[in-house]
């Protein structure tokens, strides 16, 4: 039995969440059971991923290739459990377990209805399963299918609120993501036409032999894949769907979207670029420079766009745009430190952004307020939530002892190695800007009382006239959430009158036990990655070495 499981671990890690997820709607009436099954699936996935990682790390020699259905490589679908795969698998499972824990007991209020909740969980587990699949699969078309499953699950998660705003965001996301899928499938089509293979290894060999004869076709394939996955993972100019989608989803969904889904597409892109096209071809077509450039632009522009956001979740969503830039930057450095740094940063950002979205969600659902200026003094009412938010913010900024610091350390080391000084400066500038958009939140949460917030609000209102008339376009509407803060101020004042009469901290308090546990788990991950990065960075380095020296 154990041997049976151990031999089939790569596929079991994928199908266990998928199939458990699919049967959930049947048990929709008994929500406790559904939640239990979700946590069970996550726990099984985590154990499986951990065990798989252990087996891969201790394994000597070649990768562990699993042939689905027993069909050998050019015909069958392969799953490759290499360092990169188990690294990302571990990230997915470690981060999604707390997110699943966080949803226990309070998702129903947010989504509404047992059936909707069960379907939310179905989508959640489908997403987790497909992300695991993306990490492991070694087949181009299989990647496409998994990407599609993930995309549809994401859209479903975004629209699970049921509000028209969410539906609109989900529709825009769906359209752009499908556009991206078409690009990806066309890119895969080109690769297939050129090489006749869908297996990554064989396609790669084919490309190596033939690319000089058909440089244009290869170039088209690369650009289709690059733009397709770039659109899905929201690299800067292609990010326009992200803020709406991630801010209008329920917070656990935002966490899993920002923390994991975006990362899955990046891992796919990484595999396409490094495994299929290979480092030589990347250099030949200057893909590495494009990645670095895109990353740098994203860091700066994303951070700058995050600054004026007053809606907390929107600010976090724009921050994701910026942080995606770091990972792209690392992908483009073509250096073992840079690549390992990017992978580590990916892991750390997955944990940090999930923690941020979850704690922000807890604050928002406890107070009913979405704007940063309205969250004044929340630190005293919800100390644990606000502490987690603060710790995660510091991690994102890159303070030592938190995981973001280690990621930035290796990214900077990589960019210094590659001989270019500009990326280094951009990385530092990015963390300073990150402090600029996260510190005000911390300040408001801990160091301001509601009365003062009102004053500040009023002052800002006097400075900025209402600019509602100028806004309109749905995709680019950056500040539409905060346009009407004038009316909001009045409302806040009313709220405060009520507050002063009732003792403070009456309703607003830390969320339930499962939620606290989830937040604490994520914070622990951030700290452990920051203080004892040894094994993780070693795995990331191994993965980077495998990617770079594959040829």
């Amino acid at each position: 039995m154990t041997a049976m499981i151990a031999d089939n671990l790569p596929v079991l890690v994928i199908i266990v969440p998928l199939f458990i997820g699919i049967v959930l709607p049947v048990f929709a009436r008994r929500l406790r059971l559904v939640e239990g099954m979700v946590v069970l699936a996550e726990a099984l996935g985590l154990v499986g991923a951990g065990f798989l990682a252990y087996m891969v790390v201790t394994r000597k020699g070649a990768d562990w290739i699993y042939q689905v259905g027993g069909w050998p490589a050019p015909w069958g679908i392969e799953l490759t459990a290499n360092s990169l795969a188990v690294f990302f698998l571990a990230v997915v499972m470690v981060v999604s377990l707390p997110i699943a824990l966080f949803t226990i007991g309070n998702l129903r209020q947010e989504v509404g209805g047992n059936m909707r909740t069960a379907r939310f969980y179905t989508l959640f587990l489908l997403l987790v399963g497909s992300l695991a699949g993306m990490a492991l699969t070694n087949d181009l078309f299989n990647t496409y299918v998994l990407v599609e499953v993930a995309t549809l699950s994401c859209c479903g998660l975004v629209s699970s609120h049921g509000t028209p705003r969410a539906a609109e965001a989900a529709f825009n996301y769906l359209i752009l993501a499908t556009l991206a899928s078409s690009l990806v499938v066309s890119g895969i089509g080109f690769i297939y036409v050129i090489t006749g293979h869908l297996n990554m290894g064989f396609a790669s060999q084919g490309l190596e032999q033939i690319w000089q004869a058909k440089p244009h076709a290869v170039w088209i394939a690369i650009s289709f894949v690059l733009v397709g996955f770039g659109l899905k993972s929201a690299i800067f100019p292609l990010h326009i769907w992200l803020p709406d989608a991630h801010s209008s989803a329920p917070s656990p969904a935002s966490a899993v979207l920002s923390g994991l889904a975006v990362k899955g597409y990046m891992i796919c892109l990484l595999k396409f670029l490094y495994v299929v096209f290979g480092p030589d071809l990347m250099k030949e077509f200057s893909v590495d420079r494009i990645l670095v450039l895109a990353g740098m632009t994203a860091i700066i522009c994303g951070s700058v766009m995050a600054l004026p956001q007053n809606n907390l979740k929107r600010r976090l969503a724009f921050s994701t745009v910026a942080q995606v830039g770091y990972i792209y930057l690392g992908f483009g450095l073509m250096d073992i430190n840079g690549l390992a740094g990017a992978l580590f940063y990916l892991a750390s950002h997955a944990a940090i952004k999930s923690a941020l979205f979850l704690s922000a969600g807890a604050m928002i659902s406890a107070t009913g307020k979405k704007k940063i200026s309205e969250l004044a003094g929340i630190g005293r009412k919800m100390p644990l939530t606000a502490s987690v938010f603060t710790a995660a913010s510091l991690g994102l900024i890159g303070i030592p002892l938190f995981s973001g610091f280690i990621g930035k350390w290796y990214l900077i080391a990589g960019s210094l190695d590659s001989g270019d000084f500009l990326p280094t400066i951009i990385i530092i500038a990015g963390s300073v800007l990150c402090a600029a958009y996260l510190f005000p939140v911390i300040r408001v949460a801990w160091f301001e009382s509601p009365q003062q917030a009102e004053q500040v609000n009023a002052e800002q209102q006097a400075e900025q006239p209402d600019s509602a008339a100028q806004e309109g376009s749905r995709g680019i509407a950056l500040q539409d959430e905060e346009m009407h803060s004038g009316q909001q101020v009045q409302q806040t004042a009313v709220y405060q009158n009520v507050q002063e009469n009732t003792p403070p901290g009456n309703q607003v308090k830390d969320p339930g036990t499962a939620q606290k546990l989830a937040l604490i788990l994520l914070t622990a991950v951030i700290f452990i990655l920051g203080i004892m990065p040894g094994p993780f960075i070693a795995l990331a380095k191994r993965a980077a070495a495998e990617l770079l020296m594959l040829r």
Binding site: V11, L18, L24, V26, V68, G69, G70
Partner: protein
Amino acid sequence: MRDFILKRIAAVILPFVCVYGFYVIFHGHISPGGSFAGGIIVGLSYIAFSTIYGIEKGRAKIPDKVLTWTESFGTLWYGLMGLVGIFKGVPFLANKLAGVDLGLPGALFSGGIIFYIGLGVGIRVASTMITIFFTLMEDQS
């Protein structure tokens, strides 16, 4: 639609459509078509029934609960078929390796577990089509 002729014709044709759908599902491994196409035909036969005889009547025939069950277990069936390989000590979804009798090429019961997988997928597709139809109709009303 309360058209008499339509109802009569549907009453005659739809059972055959449904049976044809299952035919396509079952012959997926030896002829063009397959479980997806067949499942859609099965689903469409039911959708046609609901449009012609009224949504309420259609709903009464297949309650939500049944739909949910068939939807979930159609897919689960696929997974269980895949696990056959694992229980035989060979990879997931293995067919011949798992010791399943493949039969003669061209015969109905050939292709090992493909036949059974096709059944699961067909049921899933049919019930999903019906669910989608009902969801859309529900939203409109």
